[in-house]
C-alpha cells in the first residue's frame, strides 16, 4: 500500500477512470451488506423487551445518523485540503459528498421521528440531540446553496469550503449532546470506550447496516464526483473523450 503514489490520482483525468472502476464494487458491497443486515435486523434479532418491534427502526436510524456525521467530517476534510493545497479534486469531493450527507441527515431525522412517536409519544421535541442534528441538515443545505449561488466555481469552492469547516463545531455538539444536556434522546448503546449494551444479533444487524451505509455513501459520492469532474472539465480533451464514449 505504501508504494501507491496518491498524488498521481489527484488529477481529475486520472481519478476519473479509477473512480469508475471502484463504484460497482462499493455498490455491490452495499447491496449485499444491506440484504444481510436487514435479514439479521428484521428476522434474526429478537423483540426488544421494552420497545417491542418498534426498536427495529434503529437498524436504519443509527446507520443514517452515524453517516450524517461521518459524511460531514469527510466533506469538511476534503474542503480543508482543497483550501490548503488549492487542489480542484478535493473541492469536487467535498461538493460530491454534500447531497448524500444531507439525505443521510434527513433520513436520521425521519426515522427518528417515526421511532419517537410510538416510544416517546412525540414526532419531534426541541431536545439537544434532535436540534443539533437539524442544524446539521441546515449546514448541508447552506453549503450546497452557497456553492451554487457563486458563479465562479473555484470561488464557490472556497466560500462553501469555509462554511463546511466552520460547521464542524456542530459535530461534537451532536455527539456529546446526550451527555452534556439532559435530553430525551437515549444515550449511546454502542461507543468506543465501553462494551455495547445490547444483544448480539441486534448489535450485529446494526453494525452490518452501518457498514452497508458506508459502502453506499462511498459508491454514490464517487459516482457523483465523476459527474462533477466531467461537468467542470468538459472542454478538456480527456473529458471530451469520456463524454464522447458515453453517447
Amino acid at each position: 500500500m505504501g508504494s501507491i503514489n496518491w498524488f498521481h490520482y489527484a488529477a481529475p483525468q486520472r481519478f476519473y477512470p479509477l473512480a469508475g472502476k471502484l463504484v460497482p464494487w462499493f455498490g455491490a458491497l452495499a447491496v449485499v451488506l444491506t440484504a444481510i443486515g436487514l435479514y439479521i435486523g428484521l428476522w434474526v434479532a429478537p423483540t426488544d423487551a421494552q420497545q417491542g418491534e418498534a426498536y427495529r427502526i434503529i437498524f436504519v436510524h443509527v446507520p443514517t445518523a452515524w453517516m450524517s456525521m461521518v459524511v460531514y467530517l469527510a466533506m469538511a476534510t476534503w474542503a480543508a485540503i482543497g483550501l490548503v493545497f488549492n487542489s480542484r479534486l478535493s473541492s469536487m469531493m467535498a461538493t460530491a459528498l454534500a447531497p448524500t450527507g444531507a439525505l443521510m441527515t434527513f433520513l436520521a431525522l425521519w426515522t427518528g421521528a417515526l421511532w419517537g412517536k410510538p416510544t416517546w409519544g412525540a414526532w419531534w421535541v426541541w431536545d439537544a440531540r434532535l436540534t443539533s442534528e437539524l442544524v446539521l441538515l441546515f449546514l448541508y443545505i447552506g453549503f450546497m446553496a452557497l456553492h451554487s449561488a457563486i458563479d465562479d466555481t473555484r470561488r464557490a469552492d472556497r466560500a462553501a469550503g469555509l462554511l463546511a469547516i466552520v460547521g464542524v463545531v456542530n459535530l461534537p455538539i451532536i455527539y456529546f449532546s446526550v451527555q452534556w444536556w439532559n435530553t430525551l434522546h437515549q444515550g449511546a448503546s454502542v461507543s468506543i470506550t465501553k462494551a455495547p449494551s445490547m444483544a448480539t444479533p441486534m448489535l450485529m444487524g446494526m453494525l452490518v447496516m452501518a457498514l452497508a451505509s458506508w459502502m453506499y455513501c462511498i459508491a454514490v459520492a464517487l459516482a457523483r464526483v465523476r459527474l462533477i469532474m466531467l461537468e467542470r472539465e468538459r472542454h478538456a480533451p480527456w473529458a471530451r473523450q469520456a463524454l464522447g464514449s458515453l453517447t
Binding site: 423483540t47 417491542g52 418491534e53 418498534a54 410510538p118 468538459r234 463524454l243 453517447t247
Partner: protein, 57 residues
C-alpha cells in the same frame, strides 16, 4: 418473527418500522435516479455543443 404477516405487522408498529425502511429505500432510489438524469443531461449538452461547433471547423 415466524411468518410474513407478523413481519409486516411488526407487533402493531408496522407503519413506523416500514415507514422508516420505506423512506430510506425511496431516498436511495431517488438519489440514484437524479445522478442518472444528471449524467444524461450532461452527455446531451456536450453532444449538442459538439454538433453546433462542427460547421465552423
Amino acid at each position: 418473527m415466524s411468518n410474513l404477516n407478523e413481519l409486516l405487522a411488526m407487533g402493531g408498529y408496522g407503519l413506523y418500522v416500514w415507514g422508516s425502511i420505506g423512506m430510506c429505500a425511496a431516498v436511495v432510489v431517488a438519489e440514484l435516479m437524479v445522478i442518472r438524469l444528471r449524467r444524461r443531461l450532461l452527455v446531451q449538452e456536450a453532444f449538442d455543443e459538439r454538433t453546433t461547433e462542427e460547421p465552423v471547423a
